[in-house]
Amino acid sequence: MTSWEPRILGFLCNWCAYAGADLAGVSRVQYPPNVRVIRVMCSGRVDPVLVLEAFRGGADGVAVLGCHPGDCHYLTGNYQAERKMAMASRILEEVGIEPERLLLDWVSAAEGQRFGEVITCFVGRVRALGPLSGVPGASERAAVGEGIAASDRLRWLVGKERELVEAGNAYGEVLDADAFREVLWRNISVEHFRQRVRAELGKGPMTVGTIAGALDMPPRDVLRIIVDLEDRGIVHSGGMDGDSPLYVLAGTGGECR
């Protein structure tokens, strides 16, 4: 191939989208050969971490295709997929990767033609966005996103979204969907800061001031994150730099795999 071709990874649910893709074959629907497929049992299986991992691994686009709402072989898996991909898409935006590179769509087992159309359309969209490598530091950005997606707070929030929005919290307060989104988005930003602080600390022991300077963040916010990370045993203080304590990243592990 002489010109650049988008490389796209598709996560297809076994019961609908994968079957629809097979039907496209049986019907000889022709579509661009840019997609590589990973079969999963349910679109709800697609962890946002895996999506970010795909971008880190060089995907120019990621398509998650499941059953139409109401058709999920596992009843509600595709609703979960919808929430998880909304988060993944927001994380992409947060780390500076075009969220349009992520597609969530529904293809039934009977929609071979539609499968071809969805792929053709998405390949076109990613082609217009250009290679992911065109985004400076794309791989690192995706890696940071991966860390965000692995955050237990965010995962808990997303997992509880339906309950909080539909049934209410322990106090019986039902959250309005927009309000919930706002909370989630804010937490994604906070988690992003946290990841960046961690990434910075990965370079060696540092003071709050140094980190704040490097990340162009208010020292107060950095301190809050450091305290939180310290609470979780991810960071500990290690000596002093003049009057300021130095902070050190505790080994590996913690939140980010």
Binding site: W15, A24, R36, M41, R45, G58, G77, Q80
Partner: protein, 1063 residues
């Protein structure tokens, strides 16, 4: 044997089920398990229902190894009976093995059949005799003695299928090859086809010099590395003891030489449709390149001529062969797929695309695939002087005689009962009709005139593959009911070698890349993919094969696993959705845990969708193989979980199909709960008064109802609705709601038989003029004795069918119209009947009734959907104005009565049931079976089956056949008592789990339990309830849950491999 007329006493559903007929003449040997030729050690299973009377023989004979015989044999064997499958030719597979593709999904025929061939070949309870004939049958239902002669094959079981003998044969390439319909040539020793089961060569005794003349150098003997050629082998006779017999001898294509005007005998480029299948096939004479026989040139203009040997009094075949319209369309579409320059033209009389999805298939061929359709009967075919081109002369619709030149002509030959079938019929003593088809009754579609002898497939009338498979499962159910008392008596258990413990071993991956004929090989550079795979980490062996799913490839796979110590296997071929079970079974045979397997889909999702981009397709195939290998390096053996199966079945719907299914289950000894939402049984049958064959449907219905009500194993729930269905195969729990109160039923299987409804017409003044009625209302008027003497009755067909809202054909309306026309004109010879139609679709032997209606004076007038009839009421007269499509002239009918044929439509509540059962529906709203061709009564969800009009519109006999089939398929599950569930479930890492309970709140199947244990609150997965969706794993805040066989690490490895650039 005492013949009885079919259709009088016979009933499709387990009447005299478990009680075998016994009497004088029952051979001694039949009483004991393991008697006769059934030597294999009987495992002494229980014999329920055998009280006092002699137990029937727990074995069945299936005659004919086509797809029907194969399905019947597999169902019987799976239901706990020993099966003797006798096939006349040297290999099983029948005509389906010769087909290139199948309609309406264009599946590769051999690819979908092959797993079943392999299943037969390795089933421990199927004894296969090929090259064999049934030569005598005696005894009676429950205890037959059958003499089978195995003609000397002259090649022993030592044959390895290498083919050296065929190459060495001094007569190699001399004789026409039957499998290729004579388009290629073979020698005197040959293999029927490359994927044949059994994979054993055979000597043609009429051609072999040594056999016929006693003198030959016998190179075949000397060259055989296995010493398997034994030219002195003699015929062998065996006597089999069986309790029931299923006849599945299939059909033969009409001999086109009898229609001399089409020039088949003299013109090389006139071929039959079956020959054209071979021309299309990758394994055919031209390796899938469309060429014409005379000069090997690529034809551009190809004509299909329909109804050759069908709907033709001249040749004695008045019936319609049912399948030719659709197979012709398929051949035309596929030919164009092979070579887009081809211009197909089809000459037809009526377009009979009446099956599920067929009408849409036809319109797509016409509107999207460039197939030209001409409604005409062809007068003759001549060769153009000086060439082998052909001139087709036909009468155009306007009556003018036209000529058109073609490069090639395909004769769509009809289906006839072959000579083998006729011989078999007379040997067994079953009654046949004047065409030679086995006589069955409308309400007993699988019963022959001889008790204990059942029939399926085209021998009982022309039909397609799914209908054959349905009847095969139905016949197996009927046969199984007869011998249910000896279930398990003669079976041997499947044995697999002990599983090799591969944990801790360094992965040794084998990659097997399939050409799938030309399906993959023509677009993906398979050798390049193999070469690429060889260089991947962990791969110790990479190979290609023509058809990886064939029996010999399976055998070779086992050998390769052993030779190379493989502990991970990758097959790059079609889709795991159809073929994974086959390969997993092969791994088991090789002593590997079946989960050490991964597929790369390089056909359905690669070669077939990138036909114009071979380089990219090859790159994609290589990438998918690399990703599969990366995953394979991490996969671990999984231990299977077995569960008890509740023997009760839930049958939803108390119409014909539901009642029949319940009785068929009860007849095999399984309790059934029959749920009907109305307060009475009968469904649509309540509205049927008579049929073409039966004057008194209400009596039949009354008898059926009384048998349902009287059966001790049937728990009838009228006025009941389904509130919820939970559970999984073998263990369902359904809550029924009746009169405000609820009860729960536990059961192991579900049969969906919820039927369909007649739509309400919104055209042709229906509801505005009381003289406008539906066919059903007309039927009631006629049955109730309405005087139609001297009256004019008009009928309009396709009211609400075959249009944009309902693109499908409702299948039964033409038959109903003809039925009513015949009845009216027979009762009132002076009445006048006009039928306004688009295509008359009286398929099969129902064509005879259409002929009869015309003889009686019914006038059939065609209309185009663009110019439908107009109905007006003028001065008290009901006037129908129809535009005759060819002449463009209006025909005016002043009628006393107008009967409309409304579309059959799915029930509105089918969506709710589909959701509860988690099963799909098609675009039209009918339930969607697991596979259109080969699994027509199964859903993809284990333990859930489908019957009757909930599947698609169908006739009484078809509903009964499918109901019996659904019951039979359910019986294969219920009879086992245990079922193995997929071990690919979620697992919790307790060290990481913090017991937050998010997973439990998200699990749709309540398969996660949070409880206090050492280390605090932790989640536990209930494996039997877990369906393996993985939502919990993708949600766990602590990443503490993963899915077996889809672990984070495995998917991560696939992602990494995706990212890795090709080395």
């Amino acid at each position: 044997m005492s013949p009885r007329p079919a259709g009088t006493e016979g009933c499709a559903c387990g009447h005299d089920g478990a009680t075998p007929v016994s009497g004088p003449g029952v051979p001694e040997a039949a009483r004991a398990a393991g008697g006769g030729a059934s030597e294999p050690g009987a495992s002494g299973g229980s014999v329920p229902g055998a009280t006092g009377a002699r137990a029937p023989v727990g074995a069945a004979l299936v005659v004919g190894g086509g797809v029907g015989g194969i399905q019947a044999a597999l169902d019987l064997a799976e239901a706990g009976f020993r099966v003797h499958l006798v096939e006349g030719s040297p290999a099983i597979g029948g005509v389906m093995a010769q087909l290139d593709k199948t309609f309406p999904t264009n599946d590769c025929s051999l690819c979908i059949l092959s797993p079943k061939l392999v299943d037969i070949g390795r089933h421990p309870n199927v004894d296969l005799a090929t090259n064999a004939d049934v030569v005598a049958v005696e005894g009676e239902a429950g205890a037959f003695r059958v003499k089978v002669r195995e003609r000397a094959r002259r090649v022993t079981e030592a044959c390895v299928g290498c083919g050296l003998c065929a190459e060495a044969c001094v007569l190699a390439g001399r004789f026409p090859d039957d499998y290729d319909e004579g388009l290629s040539r073979r020698g005197a020793i040959y293999i029927p086809y490359p994927q044949a089961v059994p994979m054993r060569y055979v000597v043609d005794p009429e051609r072999c010099l040594q056999v016929t003349k006693g003198k030959c150098v016998q190179k075949c003997v000397s060259v055989c590395p296995a010493g398997a050629v034994d030219l002195d082998m003699e015929d062998r006779e065996r006597v089999l003891e069986v309790g029931a017999i299923v006849l599945a001898p299939g059909f033969e294509g009409f001999d086109p030489r009898l229609k001399g005007e089409y020039g088949y005998e003299n013109f090389p480029n006139v071929v039959t449709s079956l020959e054209f299948e071979r021309i299309l096939s990758a394994s055919g004479p031209y390796e899938g390149h469309v060429r014409r026989p005379s000069d090997g040139a690529e034809p551009r203009r190809i004509a299909w001529i329909n109804c050759v040997g069908s709907r033709d009094r001249g040749c004695g075949n008045e019936y319609c062969s049912s399948v030719c319209c659709t197979y012709g369309i398929k051949e035309a579409v596929i030919a164009r797929e092979h070579d887009p320059r081809i211009e197909p033209t089809m000459f037809y009389m009526d377009m009979r695309t009446f099956g599920k999805g067929f009408e849409e298939y036809f319109t797509a061929a016409r509107d999207r695939h460039g197939v030209r359709f001409i409604r005409s009967r062809v007068a003759d075919v001549r060769e153009a002087p000086g060439s082998h081109d052909l001139v087709v002369r036909y009468e155009a619709e306007d009556g003018s005689l036209r000529e058109e030149r073609f490069d090639m002509v395909v004769l769509s030959v009809g289906l006839e009962p072959g000579r083998t079938a006729r011989d078999l019929a007379s040997l067994v003593g079953v009654e046949t009709d004047r065409f030679g088809f086995c006589v069955t009754g409308e309400t007993s579609p699988m019963e022959t005139s001889v008790p204990g002898v059942f029939v399926c497939g085209a021998f009982a009338g022309p039909k397609d593959i799914p209908e054959t498979v349905i009847e095969a499962s139905g016949a197996a159910a009927r046969a199984g009911a007869l011998i249910a008392g000896s279930r398990g008596a003669l079976v041997t258990r499947a044995e697999h070698p002990a599983e090799i413990d591969v944990r801790g071993q360094v992965p040794r991956v084998g990659v097997f890349v399939c050409h799938c004929g030309i399906n993959i090989g023509a677009y993906v550079d398979v050798p390049a993919v193999v070469e690429y795979a060889r260089g991947l980490p962990g791969v110790v062996l990479a190979e290609d094969s023509l058809y990886t799913c064939s029996a010999d490839a399976q055998r070779s796979l086992v050998e390769r696993i052993r030779e190379h110590g493989l502990n991970r296997v990758i097959v790059a071929s079609c889709t795991p959705r159809t073929h994974e079970p086959l390969f997993k079974e092969t791994l088991r045979e090789a002593g590997l845990n079946p989960h050490l397997f991964e597929m790369a889909n390089i056909r359905d999702q690669c070669s077939w969708v990138h036909m114009n981009a071979p380089e990219e397709a090859t790159a994609k195939a290589s990438d998918q193989v690399r990703m599969a290998v990366a995953k394979a390096l991490l996969i671990e053996p999984l231990e299977e979980v077995t569960l008890d199966v509740n023997p009760r079945a839930l049958v939803i719907g108390g119409g014909l199909a539901g009642m029949t299914a319940a009785l068929a289950l009860a007849g095999q000894g399984f309790p059934a709960t029959l749920v009907e939402r109305e307060d009475r049984l009968g469904g649509n049958l309540l509205h049927t008064r008579y049929t073409l064959e039966n004057d008194d449907v209400p009596s039949y219905l009354a008898e059926l109802v009384s048998r349902v009500r009287g059966h001790p194993l049937i728990d009838l729930r009228l006025s009941s609705a389904i509130a919820s269905i939970e559970g999984y195969v073998g263990n369902f729990r359904t809550v029924l709601e009746a009169a405000g109160s609820t009860t729960a039923v536990e059961h192991g299987a579900v049969i969906v038989a919820t039927g369909a409804v007649e739509s309400v017409p919104d055209a042709y003044m229906y509801g505005m003029d009381e003289r406008v009625v539906t066919q059903r209302q007309l039927e009631r008027m006629v049955a109730d004795g309405e005087d139609l003497s001297g009256r004019t009755v008009a009928m309009i067909q396709c009211v609400g069918s075959r249009d944009t809202a309902r693109p499908y054909c409702s299948r039964v309306c033409c038959i109903d119209a003809v039925k009513n026309a015949v009845r009216i004109l027979e009762t009132f010879p002076d009445a006048r009947v006009f039928v306004l139609y688009r295509d008359i679709r009286t398929y099969g032997t129902r064509e005879v009734a259409y002929e009869r209606a015309r003889e009686l004076g019914a006038i059939f007038i065609r209309f185009d959907p663009e110019g439908p009839p107009v109905v007006t009421s003028e001065a008290g007269r009901l006037r129908i104005t129809a535009r005759e499509p060819i002449l463009g002239e209006d025909i005016v009918i002043d009628a006393d009565l107008l009967a409309l044929s409304p579309a059959i439509e799915p029930r509105e509540d089918s969506m709710a049931l589909a959701k509860m059962l988690k099963v799909p529906r098609n675009a039209d709203g009918f339930f969607l079976e697991a596979h259109v061709k080969l699994r027509p009564v199964d859903f993809a969800t284990d333990g859930v089956f489908l019957a009757g009009m909930a599947h698609s519109p169908k006739t009484i006999d078809e509903s009964i056949a499918q109901a019996c089939a659904a019951a039979g398929r359910a019986a294969t599950l219920l009879s086992k008592g245990r079922v193995t569930v997929d071990p690919a479930v979620a697992v919790v890492d307790r060290d990481l789990c913090i017991g937050c309970g998010l997973c439990a709140s998200l699990c749709p199947f309540k398969a996660i339990d949070i409880s206090l244990m050492e280390g605090g609150r932790k989640a536990t997965v209930i494996s039997a309830s877990c369906k393996g969706c993985g939502v919990c794993g993708a949600s766990c805040p602590k990443l503490a849950i993963t899915m077996r066989h889809f672990t984070d690490d495995e998917i991560g490895a696939q992602i990494d491999a995706f990212g890795g650039v090709r080395p």
